[in-house]
């Protein structure tokens, strides 16, 4: 079956612009995660959605970052007023379990470059 897909695969934007990154999880997966992968920094947790529960937003680095998940499926990560330090690969993952202990299936990522 189809895996996790993300779009766009690459995004170049100017400092100060807003960007939207999209994630299509595996059908039926109740858990969805966003991470940021910077060179030499590993994966930085951003936000976690589990079913209809309130999302865990504890990893969002600033109020410029927000995410929503519509209908328990597709998710959009929005970065407002982008800064050069936002440049990174943004990864989305979905999981079939309750999150804890569940395997995460990762998408290919969106590479964001802020000029």
């Amino acid at each position: 079956g189809a895996g996790v897909s993300q779009s766009p695969s690459n995004k170049v934007t100017e400092k100060g612009k807003d960007v939207e990154l999209r994630c299509d999880p595996i059908s039926g997966h109740t858990a969805l995660y966003w991470y940021r992968q910077s060179l030499g920094q590993g994966l930085e947790f951003l936000i976690y959605f589990q079913g209809n529960s309130a999302p865990d937003k504890s990893g969002l680095p600033s109020d410029r970052f927000s995410a929503e998940r519509t209908g328990g499926s597709v998710s959009t990560l929005t970065i407002q007023r982008t800064q050069q330090e936002d440049s990174a690969v943004y990864l989305c993952a979905s999981g079939g379990g309750a999150g804890v202990g569940g395997t995460q299936y990762f998408g290919p990522g969106t590479r964001l470059l802020v000029l």
Binding site: F45, T103, P108
Partner: protein
Amino acid sequence: AQSVTQLDSQVPVFEEAPVELRCNYSSSVSVYLFWYVQYPNQGLQLLLKYLSGSTLVKGINGFEAEFNKSQTSFHLRKPSVHISDTAEYYCAVSGSGGSYRPTFGRGTSLIVHP
């Protein structure tokens, strides 16, 4: 709070040699532990995970890891590596109860030389 330390940023090794990638964690609660692998130009995929039970966990491609609670470690091993094992390996931890937030290490680059 929880954290993951991957002690080696890069591990060079010759083909058919054994390898160990080290991972230590800290957590105030019981944990689940994972190793993920990212091959060049590919997405991350699960290599193996420890949830409970036997402390020796076997994963794909001949890898295994051992959970050592007293040393808070979850080192990854393979007795004989192949060129195709060249990849970035990430250790991760999540709480097994209460608040859930996955934490990943910074990754270890395994470079297998012919």
